[in-house]
Subunit: 230 residues, 8 copies
């Protein structure tokens, strides 16, 4: 773990739960809760969640069935609010675990997050209304999560004048399955202003969007932020 | 060459010009002209076209700068007309050689072909008008040519109630370049009703669309068509 | 879900069962049954089928051991009949789950479907008889399902004057296993008139063939069909 | 071409010169010069530059030996200045054509651009000084161009609290050559806050960084910017 | 070079001409001519052939336009005759350089070689007659050269009771182009009795078929053959 | 199943047990036992073997722990003996299941099979003695099974004057694991006379070697063999 | 097994436990314990360890939770000490099983091993102190284990004047996951003096580093070592 | 360029000539000659060599036809001699440019280099004599250059008790061509003590072997060497 990451980078440390024993996970979570008041756990299983709830009874757990990420808070934890505004669009219903994880990271960085689900290219006429609404609301950055054909991020980036982060998801089988086609299509985008993260790297998407939105929000408020140097 | 292909399959033989000497090419073209009244030459270079024009002065050549395909006719050749209607959409201007080649094949099969250029996803709002017009005109099948992100065929197939053939083109560089991302994204489409051909296989796209449109046109007219058996 | 897909596209919505809980699947199926009178469920497990049968006792379930797709009907549901005629050929016995899934989609679109099994290239002399019979019957489009070497679709498309849809299946191991060789060989076909869908995308193959056959059938009957616009 | 791109997206149209004839290129450049006062030409050859200089004698050309991008201005053109601040780091000397192209795009968007060359991981101790200086200067976003091992963007993103765009370059041969290893390593980064564009997509990197820096600069100045809707 | 290869292995040494200067090539050819009475040169260009003819005026050169292999003999060289019988089938006309090279190697090993051209799967009904004739003639082994879909070797191996060597050729473009699809399809064959060599490795195909046919021919004649040990 | 395969091809039908239910497998095995007196089952699990033993108590089962193939005989079955001689070499101990499977196929074809284990290139000096012994015994064809680096078949084919079949096995992990490196290295062999089958395709290796050895044995004995035509 | 490996190569034999039954593993371990006094078992599961402890109660087992390698000693075994000095650096905590395995191999060869954990490029400023200390201690060779971006070995090799062995680990998911990006980045290193082994091949990394360090140590002591010849 | 590399790393800077103009190359070479007394130029063309000879008439140039690397010395330059001993083995004659480049780097580091050519696995019995001689001579490290099947390094590493560096070369075509099979086979080696560099990275192979041999040589002589710190 990199416990000074938030101070140096403005991005929270995230615990990777896969392959961790209940004891190891419990210890890492407890350490982060103590230092930051909250802990984000990714690639977490329902069984691991159950174990954490058992050993940390006072802690609030933000987790839903089917998710792969959990957010735990100490009692009385107060959410950071920077004023940064992020939207997360998903192409299909299978993309929501990625959207959920990116939302947690961005909210932990103090951003306000708006999720718009199921506006993929199998019915692209449903996209325009929500997209115009997001621009009217003053969204600072957009994350677009898509698997399979990965076409949605290019469509969005072709329309909006703000930074777009493409988040390919491991949805789809056959040639180009597991997110490879989605990633490749996003990298080959014909729309400028789209940058991408790796397949299922929702933590990275949330962090990049959060850094962008927070920098804009600080500029809006006239504040500056001090970071630890390296 | 398969000189009975048209009689058996309803699809014209196409001469592949790459690696052929002027003499070899001239001989193949002359043979097809004699049997069918026309000849289609793909992967043909400007130098080869010049040589063909020199040795076959009476022949009309349908060829433009930058194309990779030529269509040659004997004097007095009369185009077949089946009543089949095909539309070819391209995502960007680099896709036109593929569109041009598919058009020639489909027209040689007797179809009427409508080309709509540059309606790619970098500005998807420009797509809807032309697409509605094509449906109003009674288009039987649509070929969508796209390189780079290959997103346009999925968008089109998500909207229209007719068969769509995706034609990936070898446009784009870097990871997924040369048409690989376009092909992969089309194969991973979340829109039903899209089938694809290989990268730059415009002959195959034209043939598939032509077979579909001609079958519909024959059914409209109540005619039947006899083919040679195998 | 895209509940207006049939009205807009003429292709039924299909429920993807993988990773869905019994409750989620039950809810999706019930919703589709109510709106359409039937529901198609793909990537469904025997356990999920059992659960559906338990919670929906009045519903008829078209499902067989080893299949990955089920078709459920409300009591009294009457099958659509358009007059479109589709044939599905399989190379080997492992391809039948794909053929079964494509059949359900095409039948749900109102087509009549003929399945010819085990005519692969390990004994190609067995192919010709059935193929001539299908042509005599007036088949509008052919789906050819094949894994491993994927050679059968090219052989078929080299012989018949109607559209062929190649459906690679995830059969085979080693280099090119999981359907990659089959897909690649179909994309590289030397026979014009063959277009393909992704590995195991039987829903897509059924939808493409169904759109083709239904368009021909409508033209035969002189009817027109109204679709919702986008 | 998408002549309203700047009005809609805030990103300039870029002319792709490869495969264009002198006449085609001249016409595209003239059209952009007339509408915008400048034109950016990528993948341009020295011969094409010479031809452009000959046919457009009054135009200023920002181009250097070995570059693949040129920026042409009408006499009297005044550069846009938004106050956005971008830094471009390169790992090695072979990365400068990419850096040069990204610089042009970002400057055309009104940003101030600082280039720091040759701070790659073969001598990482040389990186820290320049990086601290850039942070002190108030850099809004950093582009890091690297080929071969692609390690530099991860190192930078591990240290700085601002958005980093990884720009893999097609430098290197053997396994993972042509930028594939660089791209893959950046996608696999263990540092949050790094998003990437495709290999050699310097236009995309410049556009993404420019959108970020300009949004921050507008927030600093309290201005808002109007864009054309879609 | 491995000048004792024939004595140890029963397979001739072959000179790889690519990247060799005229002088280097001339020297290698002269050395082999002296020791064996003939020399096989692969990957040879027309210019190299011209140079060899100039410097070795008395030597007979078996070479044709478009071939990539040449066979040179000293005056008075008498061909070896073992009685082994090999057939080479090609799927398309682009496969003949590979067939030509395999023929030279097999003939240099003393086999009789029968070439049957253009019996690929785009018209498979043309295959049966020639194939039955070859079996009636007592062919010992069959080489099947095919590019693109690579389907022909599986079809042949499904029918004949003798060993088949698949020789994929670098014919075809797009996904699986350059012979990759052909190789993969052959490796995934559903027909037992097919083994393969690498793309364009016609020397290897000729050597394997030659070893098989010669072993059978020796057994027929009751002779034994002495080889140098290792 | 292809029940006439042996009569047409001289190669036995093999039942692929994977994904088959106990009932399906039992039925296929019973059918083959009845027609041929024996049945070969590949990709069979210990549980499936146990079930077969239970339902076919009189049948002899040739199967060992860790194997993936079984050979079942009716009581009184007499092995075919053609006089063909095959050797199977393995590089390491993990290659024995492949060797075991190839042995069963070749023995079912009537060949005598000699297995030499663990002579891989990690100690190549151990290879020469056994190899010379095999040549002295009059071996007709050699199968070389190897995973990981796949180097052994090239070493063997560089030394012996008889046909060699390379059989890559899915042994090894990391880059090139699962047999991909082994296959690739064999295809790239610098030794003529080596042809290969796909990864783990021991049935194919046994069939190819069996066809070769049987043709030689028939020639030795002066017999001819009648096959069914296609 | 290659029981004379240590005598010939100076590298211990390692037992690969995967797919071995308890009985097989027990037998191999017992054989090595008898001949060498110790046994190294890789890819071993906790269940296998438990079984070994049960059947070999007097043996000391060096194994920790989460490791994939165990080292077993007979009572009274005395560690070899050559004076060779190796350091193992890991980029992240997931790399420790690889580091642990390499340590065992190197220690079995008699080297002294120093492990420095978690100095990856997500916080590269933490690397310099430990690295200078290792050089001051007279380290002979460094193994750097890294997954994901695989950037650390290039950074280290850019700084130190001693041989570096890159050990990519199968850490990371998405494009380039499973260690492929790490391996590729190390192969593309811009730092001279870095050679690599395959993904997770910690045995190979330990053996290479051990051979280097032991050769240096022998030279320091003026000793020579006798090996068995081949 | 990294002019202090030798002082920090003990490895010479190498100039990459590809894409450099005559003027750029001349300037880089002159700079290195002045600081070090010599300059190594890789990926250099005959034309570039001619230009260098013209502009630097007093300089000695170590270059041969067909090489891709040159070594230039100022008059009176005296070669460094450390006492380190390196052997370079090549599998085939096409591997010599790589061997030549590795030799130059190792000699520039002060090592004595012995080259043994053409001992590849197509005739492995020729390897043993030279290999025993090298061990008798006290070789410190071996570089094995091989393309195509890449089998030689595994064979060598299976026999010798000293570090082996595998150097895959871009020799071979078809599947696994360009050195990919060679690299993959070396990474999958079943012989411990083999580490590898990327395809054609002869500079890296020479540097790694040079660092090893020099460390051993220094230990033999009892000297220590001071390096600049980072």
């Amino acid at each position: 773990m990199d416990p000074r990451r938030f101070e140096r980078k403005g991005v929270p440390e995230v615990i990777f739960a896969e392959h961790k024993s209940a004891e190891q996970l419990n210890q890492s979570v407890a350490q982060l809760l103590e230092s930051a008041g909250y802990a984000i756990v990714s690639r977490v299983s329902p069984l691991q969640i159950e174990a954490l709830r058992g050993s940390l009874p006072d802690v609030t757990v933000d987790y839903q069935d089917g998710a792969r990420t959990a957010w735990l808070f100490l009692p009385g934890y107060r959410h950071r609010r920077t004023g940064g505004k992020i939207a997360i669009l998903t192409a299909g219903s299978s993309d929501w675990p990625a959207a959920h994880e990116a939302r947690i990271v961005a909210e932990a960085m103090g951003c306000e997050v708006d999720i718009v689900s199921d506006v993929g290219v199998a019915g692209i006429h449903r996209l325009f209304g929500p997209l115009r609404r997001l621009l009217d609301l003053g969204t600072d950055a957009i994350i677009v999560a898509a698997g399979m054909d990965g076409a949605l991020p290019s469509v969005v980036a072709g329309l909006v004048p703000i930074p777009v982060i493409g988040l390919p998801t491991s949805v789809g089988y056959g040639h180009g399955g597991g997110g490879e086609a989605a990633l490749m299509s996003m990298l080959q985008t014909c729309a400028p202003g789209l940058s991408v993260v790796n397949i299922d790297n929702a933590v990275g998407a949330g962090a990049s969007a959060g850094l962008i939105a927070n920098a804009i929000a600080r500029a809006r408020s006239g504040e500056t932020e001090e970071h630890e140097s390296f």
